[in-house]
């Protein structure tokens, strides 16, 4: 019923105190940008490490000559090794199917020449801790069920696992990720403090106005609504700007990575929808909502000490 009155009060005061409004929007923009960049980077890193982590697997190739008992014993050994998170059995047929997919459209021509399926069956083993890859992998070298004659891979490649460098990289990314969470926590708190300080300053500047409102008999909610709306609008504008800024930032980095020798990573760490240039549909509304709600809460809460009778 009074919405239009409250709204025009809020907009009017935002316009009149435009310096303060700019300061508040800037504050929200900066805090939300930092928060958003942290979120985006974290997500990109996650995407990157997932593809790296997938490579920390041990492939144990099974000899075509292995007896069912030997395979069963191998399976038993895998199941009883505590460091192993999970294992997947890939049959000869599945291996061939995968190979066919890797070859793509030319597969029919190439595979036509093969008299029988040359690919061995295998176990793909994932370990719980990437540092244990070496130790776990060594347990399967020389196992009677394990093929030591994988075509084109040489005698010692019957057990294949990730190299040290990959694992070191994962370790670093892991550390960066943890640092990111800490940074996000710190900046989140800083954002709330900054917003509420800005709102408090603006309310302090208008304490006379509030005093007058109370003297003519305005209820606390009547006084509060315009301030809440002001906080809401400020938070919304600041965080939408931040969302757009983050998108531009992310896009620039993506383009840059693609133009360097690291272009492989651009494909790995950015989600496909991003690479096709679509809008950050999840990020923008959630940032905007967060900003608006924080702003509104800031506006409402900062009034408390002026509304005591």
């Amino acid at each position: 019923m009074r919405t239009s009155f409250f709204f025009s009060e809020a907009v009017g005061s935002l316009r009149r105190n435009w310096v303060m409004t700019m300061a508040a929007i800037l504050t929200v923009f900066i805090s939300m940008s930092i928060l958003g960049v942290a979120l985006v980077t974290d997500r990109n890193l996650n995407q990157g490490t997932t593809s790296l982590k997938n490579r920390i697997l041990i492939q144990v190739f099974i000899s075509d000559n292995a007896t069912p008992e030997q395979v069963a014993a191998l399976q038993q050994k895998i199941n009883s090794t505590p460091q192993i998170k999970k294992s997947v059995y890939i049959s000869k047929d599945q291996a061939l199917e995968r190979f066919r997919q890797t070859l793509g459209v030319n597969s029919a021509i190439i595979l036509k020449e093969l008299p029988n399926n040359p690919l061995p069956a295998s176990y793909e083993i994932y370990v719980k801790d990437s540092n244990q890859v070496d130790a776990v992998a060594q347990q399967f070298v020389g196992n009677p069920a394990v093929d030591d004659n994988v075509p084109g891979s040489g005698k010692h490649d019957s057990v294949v696992y990730a190299k040290k460098t990959v694992r070191r990289m994962l370790g670093i990314i892991n550390l960066v990720e943890k640092g990111m969470w800490v940074a996000m926590g710190i900046f989140g708190v800083a954002a709330i403090l900054l917003i509420s300080t800005t709102v408090r300053l603006s309310i302090f500047a208008r304490r006379r106005e509030i005093e007058i409102m109370r003297l003519v008999g305005a209820t606390n909610w009547f006084i509060r609504w315009p301030f809440i709306l002001e906080g809401f609008i400020t938070g919304l504008v600041g965080s939408v700007l931040a969302g757009l800024g983050i998108y531009a930032f992310n896009w620039t980095i993506f383009k840059w990575i693609k133009s360097t020798t690291l272009s492989y990573w651009a494909v790995k760490i950015y989600p496909p929808w991003f690479q096709s240039g679509s809008w950050p549909l999840g990020l923008l509304p959630s940032l905007a909502l967060l900003g608006a709600v924080l702003g509104a809460l800031g506006g409402g809460f900062a009034l408390r000490r002026y509304l005591k009778v």
Partner: protein, 235 residues
């Protein structure tokens, strides 16, 4: 309209604002509160508005007991009390019209009745041609009339004025007093705290004199005396 029973207000740590004050203002009366600066006039007015809590005693305003009145009901008490202050207390970024309308917005008055009532009262205080001016664009006397208009636009049963002529020149002050008298004639109880000796002497109304937070005189058709006379019985 107003009843004070043995009311004391002691500010922290032990400054006397008002001490053992008992008075009774019947409906429709016009009362002057006089006394030197620091004698407790503003304290008394703030107590009526429940802006301050008494340290002791009982206060009734328009039949409400202020000590049992819930905090959330205070705004509704204030809608029955028009206030005029020495410093006008106008919203600086609203026009004369908007300042007066604000008091109606607050009570949830609809657009149409706001558009009807505001011009009426702005005319009454003689500011029809200044309706769209901002407070800083008009004189002190005019600002004070805006604040009277705002206080009276709801037609409250009680109007309090704390040194309303303190910041305006003597001639304008007379006009303002006459305005308050006119408001009083509509049946509104009016309490005016003032220093202004000439004004009080001219009006010949009930005068209550304060000194050091105590009532030293209560006189009907009184004047502002330098030396406190004997306290006559209040009614």
């Amino acid at each position: 309209m107003i009843v004070f029973e043995n009311v004391s207000k002691i500010y922290e740590p032990d400054v006397v604002g008002l001490q053992d004050f008992t008075w009774h203002v019947p409906k429709g009366e016009f009362v002057f509160l006089v006394g030197p600066s620091g004698s407790g006039k503003t304290t008394l007015i703030k107590l009526v508005l429940k802006e301050l809590e008494p340290t002791e005693g009982r206060i009734l305003v328009a039949g409400r007991n202020l000590s049992t009145l819930r905090r959330s009901k205070v705004p509704f008490l204030r809608r029955n009390i028009g206030c005029v202050f020495q410093d006008f207390k106008l919203l600086p970024n609203k026009t004369v019209w908007e300042n007066v309308a604000y008091a109606l917005e607050v009570v949830g008055e609809n657009r149409r009745s706001i558009r009807r009532k505001v011009p009426e009262i702005v005319n009454l205080v003689g500011l029809a041609d200044k309706a769209n001016s901002l407070p800083h664009e008009i004189s002190g006397g005019e600002q004070q009339r805006v604040s009277v208009a705002r206080a009276f636009v709801n037609h409250p049963p009680l109007l309090l004025a704390d040194e309303p002529t303190g910041n305006i020149d003597p001639e304008t002050s007379i006009g303002l007093m006459q305005l308050l008298m006119r408001i009083n004639r509509t049946g509104t109880t009016v309490v005016v705290a003032t220093h202004d000796r000439d004004m009080v002497n001219r009006m010949k109304r009930r005068v209550i004199q304060l000194e050091g937070g105590r009532m030293v005189r209560d006189e009907h058709r009184g004047s502002y005396d330098e030396s406190p006379a004997e306290v006559t019985g209040a009614d």
